[in-house]
Amino acid sequence: MRLSYGDRFFTGFIYTFLVLLSVTCLYPFWNAVVVSFNEGMDTALGGVTVWPRAFTLENYEIVFQDSRILHAFLVSVLRTIVGTASAILCTAIFAFGMTRSELVGRKFYMVACIITMYFSGGLIPTFLLIRSLHLFDSFWVFIIPSLISVWNMIVFRTFFLGLPAGLDESARIDGCGYWGTFFRIVLPLSGPVIATLALFTAISHWNDWFMPSIYINNENLIPIQTKLQQILNSNIMTEQMQQLDSAAQARLSAMKTITGKSLSMATMMVATLPIICVYPFVQRYFVKGVLVGAVKG
């Protein structure tokens, strides 16, 4: 089909716009990668944009030698693995129970769940609750409150209800109870939905910085995102300090070859690393997952 001039202009505009958008989406991130691989003092001279000018691994060496950052990274890894596995398992079991029409009180459970999607107690009452449950400064504060997600339960439930009903009957005839049916029949068939929800849960665990920032004081339990936030925050402060006092600025920069900026960019890359590694491989899953969520929304 031949395109008219108007259509050609229209298409040209769209392609140009999309290219610009892609560049805008990628550039800030790419620039951070470049800065993290560039010598700090050299970066401070300016002009480091799309390629490292003075390539170095120094920034990463410092980050990986900093035991606090490494420790925070491990806390994050542990939290993400334990939190995701337990949350997915518990929510899936709950969802399976909720698919059974013979469940006594099913309507009541469902209404009670849906109410929580519209109303919540808010930040302060939750804070006071966590405090009175003695979850303060405990690793379990990352795990227990997020074991059950109503939203994920509904997605799981929708998926389970879509499985052929005959499967369940034949499992029953072969002597499976509810738990047997769940673990032997339903769970093995739920690969796609588990992958999707596990990915989203893992990312929210990995990216969470706020909960630890209010519930955790113990330095040994701080995950990487919260650590990074502390580092970035202190950077603003030194930046302000430098702007005020030029003598202090000179002393500071004479002391280090690594600037605060190059260091925080390297830490940022370390904090993003797992996501960057996983993201391209699971992309096809999450597109499907968003749709499952959206249809039932």
Binding site: L18, F94, G122, I124, V287
Partner: protein, 316 residues
């Protein structure tokens, strides 16, 4: 088969619920522990909101703290901060509703016009990426790009002679809203477009053929075919967005607007609750502010849904 089901159904009806409940203890065991967690972590905090009507004392708890009625609400409404916080909340929410909400729709419409699958795939993959970065990372990127010390934006503007001196974008109250909104669009535009693209994929291709037979240009087809067909999806998401209208944002504002200089423009209901409650430990006061926000939000959601029902699309 159908007869059997009817029989089973009747027999089940005959037994009292408590017997049926005890008989299916293994099934209940799948649901009850989860339900207890929901009660603890969702319903107990709802009960906890009554601290808004008390002078909550952390050692005495809810049962021991004195009741004070609407004192904290009155104090909040009479506080000079009230006007500022409400203005910021409304301005930021409306900016998000009118800029961040339509942006993914526009992107989906544009992506739909792309014929090269390869190109489309690349644009999508790149534009999804920011969604998966935490707000801490995004705020770090914003600091880096907007920094006075060799931030890319200042370098770019200087190289085309738009500015002479580097501008400290992040410490200037007049730029905070645009930075905040840009960061939000940047983060979510790609990912938000997924649902709309899926809705567009469901459009009947014969409609496009008919439209082009009638002489509609590609641009026109977007308005007369694509947009009307995905309207129900847009309306549902719009209702949800309106329900969140007073939720101007939390992490993004807390992180990008952390500089005290920005407080006059960055203070919104949620960050105010955080500052009063967590930082200053004024628990009852902060709970009252939070409750005020929740009540207004639910009302907005109900109104939006009523309006949507008039147009034939609603959530409930």
């Amino acid at each position: 088969m159908a007869q059997l089901e009817v029989d089973l159904h009747q027999r089940r009806k005959e037994r009292p619920a408590i017997i049926r409940f005890l008989r299916q203890w293994d099934l209940q065991l799948m649901v009850i522990p989860a339900f207890i967690l929901i009660v603890i972590f969702f319903y107990l905090p709802m009960y906890g909101t009554i601290t808004a009507f008390q002078d909550y004392n952390i050692f005495k708890g809810i049962s021991g703290s004195p009741w004070v009625g609407f004192k904290h609400f009155e104090r909040f409404f009479n506080d000079p901060v009230f006007g500022r916080v409400m203005r910021n909340t409304l301005v930021i929410s409306f900016l998000k509703l009118f800029i961040c909400f339509p942006a993914p729709i526009l992107l989906a419409l544009m992506l739909n016009e792309v014929r090269s699958r390869y190109f489309k795939r690349i644009v999508q993959t790149i534009s999804y990426l920011p969604h998966f970065l935490s707000w801490v990372i995004v705020s770090g990127l914003a600091m880096s790009i907007l920094s006075t010390e060799n931030g890319s934006l200042n370098m770019l503007l200087q190289s085309v002679n738009l500015i002479d001196e580097p501008v400290g974008w992040l410490n200037m109250p007049e730029h905070f809203w645009s930075i905040l909104i840009s960061a939000n669009v940047w983060k979510e535009i790609g990912f938000g477009s997924i649902v709309y693209l899926a809705a567009i994929a469901g459009v009947d291709p014969s409609l496009y053929e008919a439209a082009s037979m009638d002489g509609a240009s590609r641009f026109k087809q977007m308005f007369v075919v694509t947009l009307p067909t995905i309207m129900p999806v847009i309306i549902i998401f719009f209702i949800l967005a309106v329900g969140n209208l007073l939720t101007a944002g939390f992490e993004d504002i807390l992180l990008i607007g952390s500089d005290p200089v920005l407080r006059p423009v960055a203070d919104v209901l949620e960050t105010y609750v955080y500052r009063m409650g967590i930082e200053s430990q004024r628990f009852s006061y902060a709970t009252a502010v939070g409750l005020f926000k929740a009540v207004v939000s639910v009302s907005l959601l109900t109104i939006a849904n009523l309006l949507a029902r008039r147009s034939g699309n609603s959530l409930w």
